[in-house]
């Protein structure tokens, strides 16, 4: 067991290394230079040369790379040129917003997917089952930004059920109950969008798992002991199907990260995805490189998490 985890962890290191090299090279190719905003056409060329020398931009590339990585490990990700702040602080603030959004999304996701998956599997081939299968198909096919915009238009503007942008209304004082409620209210619609789009995999998996379980020996044994079918479903089958579902968590995290770019842009939510899009537009390279690196790390962590849960659940796939 531990061998698997350590092994899997070691595979992550070269992947992270390659990713960091790619990002570093891309950052070098980006148009403009890190002094945009600090200098003007009137600035003395000697001063620019001095700045370049001081920032170490004349060093060979591998030395620059080592310095960049070294600083990143110490939490120094450089300075954001548009926000004039430390990148680590800026991202930390946004990361918390994205974290709450993701947490609620995952919660709603399982809240929708688990009952639907169970019902579809239990009443296989009924009209209910067919409706659920159709639902999961539609949510699979629909692109994130289309659903997000339609939800925003419908529930945000036409019906005015939800706020249409931001993370909290400025009129509430931080720390009060109203403040937290308003925060929750703001992330409700974006996380619902996320959740609806993410349900497909879990519903389909749970459905087929339950259909398979119906013919298993343990279910027949439980039935013959006189346990009502309702209890067999809620106690025996459900518990057996639940663990593999937990393994989806890692993939869900990876999916959420990609989707956050769209969802946060549409709902004007100040998270990491929105920060990425706005940084690309304003060419804020230190923020971009830090975000891509962080997202890469989180995605790798997500797949690692999935593999670990999987190997706990199913001993057959452990690495020998």
């Amino acid at each position: 067991m531990w061998k698997t985890i350590v092994r899997r962890f070691l595979i992550m290191i070269p992947q992270l290394f390659v990713l960091s090299v790619i990002i570093f090279v891309l950052a070098k190719f980006m148009p403009g230079d890190p002094f945009t905003g600090l200098i003007s056409p009137q600035t003395d060329p000697a001063r620019i040369a001095e700045l370049t020398e001081k920032a170490g931009l004349n060093d060979p590339w591998h030395i620059q790379y080592m310095r960049w990585i070294g600083n990143a490990f110490q939490g120094d990700l450089g300075l954001s040129y548009t926000y004039k702040r430390d990148v680590a602080d800026l991202i930390g603030e946004r990361a918390l917003n994205t974290f709450w959004l993701s947490l609620l999304s995952v919660f709603i996701l399982y809240l929708i997917a688990i009952p639907l998956g169970i019902l579809a599997g239990r009443y296989q081939n009924s009209r209910l089952d067919k409706t659920i299968v159709l639902y999961s198909f539609v949510t699979y096919a629909i692109p994130t930004f289309v659903l997000g915009l339609i939800f925003l238009f419908l529930f945000g503007y036409k019906l005015e059920w939800f706020p249409t942008s931001g993370s909290v209304d400025i009129k509430y004082e931080a720390g009060t109950l109203r403040y937290y409620w308003d925060k929750f209210y703001h992330i409700l619609l974006p996380s619902f969008t996320y959740a609806v789009l993410g349900t497909t995999g879990i519903i389909q998996y749970l459905r087929s798992e339950i259909i398979d379980a119906k013919t298993m020996d343990y279910v027949r044994t439980a039935r013959s002991k006189g346990i009502p079918m309702r209890k067999v479903y809620s106690k025996h089958i459900f518990r057996n199907s639940l663990l593999p579902i937990a393994a989806f968590l890692g993939f869900t995290i990876t999916g959420l990260l990609g989707g956050s770019i769209f969802v946060e842009t549409i709902f004007g939510y100040p998270g990491m995805g929105q920060l990425f899009v706005s940084s690309i537009s304003s060419r804020d390279y230190s923020v971009i490189t830090a975000l891509v690196m962080l997202f890469g790390f989180l995605a790798l962590l997500g797949s690692l998490l999935s593999d670990i849960i999987m190997s706990i659940v199913d001993p057959r796939i452990r690495i020998e």
Binding site: Q15, A141, F153, Y157, T164, I280, A299, L300
Partner: protein, 302 residues
């Protein structure tokens, strides 16, 4: 199968299994919604190409006319006009054609490359298989969307061709992985072993013997990839990192909804394009699902 046997038996035909096209046809006959999607798709795609080719003058379409700014749907413009007073219907048609062409190009490039890599890895195995599997694992775990966006901003002369190549660079891995796993199990079958014993060279075995047996899976995969590529292209164009500004795309049309005022009051400038994307995605995916069922004898309805 049983039905088919009986029918052919009565007519004293030589009993042969149904060909690929027959299986697909029967599957579509059985699933009315899939048949409907297929017909709708063919009509819409043909319609778009013919209309965009014959009926629309691009120069005139893209001419800004301030008098018609956000003209409401009516006689002059069937679905109204956008911020620049440009006809929405014409833009949807041209945009849809561009989106389709780009998605087709990406699907073909990634398809050819993915199938080639998959076949070689699956058939030969060994170090080349190991190497490509590591590369594919890497591509699957990194944040692809972000890297595509970064690539797009880095490319100095940004054109449609560059966009297609950048997308293809990231999107070939799924096909390669699928084809590899199928080719691996196929290359252990008796017919391949027999062919090897007879001294057939590897290239002929791969292209003439294994590839035809994987064709159904490849067709399904490419149909679903096509749907995915339409989604990614329109999504990126929506964010403003897709097609260059001068080329209309369904995504750029939807992007006008980023302005809350437009989103709320001038719904006709973005909603039709969004619904059009939705319809295309549902249609292509549904056809893909029916093809997938046809390719797997256990799932067939017909």
């Amino acid at each position: 199968m049983a039905k088919k046997n009986k029918k052919t038996g009565n007519n004293n035909y030589v009993n042969s299994p149904p060909t690929g096209l027959q299986v697909i046809f029967r599957e579509f006959m059985k699933d009315k919604l899939a048949m409907f999607s297929l017909i709708l798709l063919v009509v819409v795609i043909l319609g778009i190409f013919v209309w965009a080719w014959l009926g629309i003058d691009q120069q005139q379409l893209l001419r800004v006319s301030l008098r018609d700014k956000f003209a409401e749907p009516g006689e002059k413009f069937l679905l109204g006009a956008d911020q620049g007073g440009k006809d929405i219907v014409g833009q949807i048609i041209v945009g849809a054609r561009n989106s389709m062409l780009i998605a087709i190009a990406i699907t073909l490039i990634t398809g050819v490359f993915g199938v080639a890599v998959g076949l070689i890895c699956g058939y030969f195995g060994g170090w080349i298989d190991n190497l490509f599997m590591r590369i594919i694992d890497f591509f699957i775990t990194i944040p692809q969307l972000m890297l595509i966006i970064v690539f797009i901003t880095v490319v100095p002369k940004y054109t449609v061709g560059a966009f297609i190549l950048i997308m293809s660079l990231f999107l070939w891995t799924g096909t390669a992985r699928l084809v590899r796993s199928k080719a691996l199990s196929e290359s252990r079958r008796d017919y391949v072993q027999a062919s090897k014993t007879l001294g057939t060279n590897d290239f002929v075995i791969i292209t003439r013997e294994i590839l035809p047996n994987l064709s159904s899976i490849i067709i399904v995969e490419m149909t679903l990839n096509f749907a995915g590529n339409v989604g990614i292209e329109t999504g990126l164009s929506y964010l403003g990192f897709g097609l260059p500004q001068s080329t209309p795309s369904l995504g750029t049309l939807v992007a006008s909804a980023n302005n809350p005022l437009v989103l709320q009051q001038y719904w006709w400038s973005w909603l039709p394009a969004a619904l059009f994307i939705l319809l295309m995605m549902l249609g292509i995916n549904y056809v893909g699902q029916a093809l997938r069922r046809a390719a797997d004898s256990r799932q067939r309805l017909g």
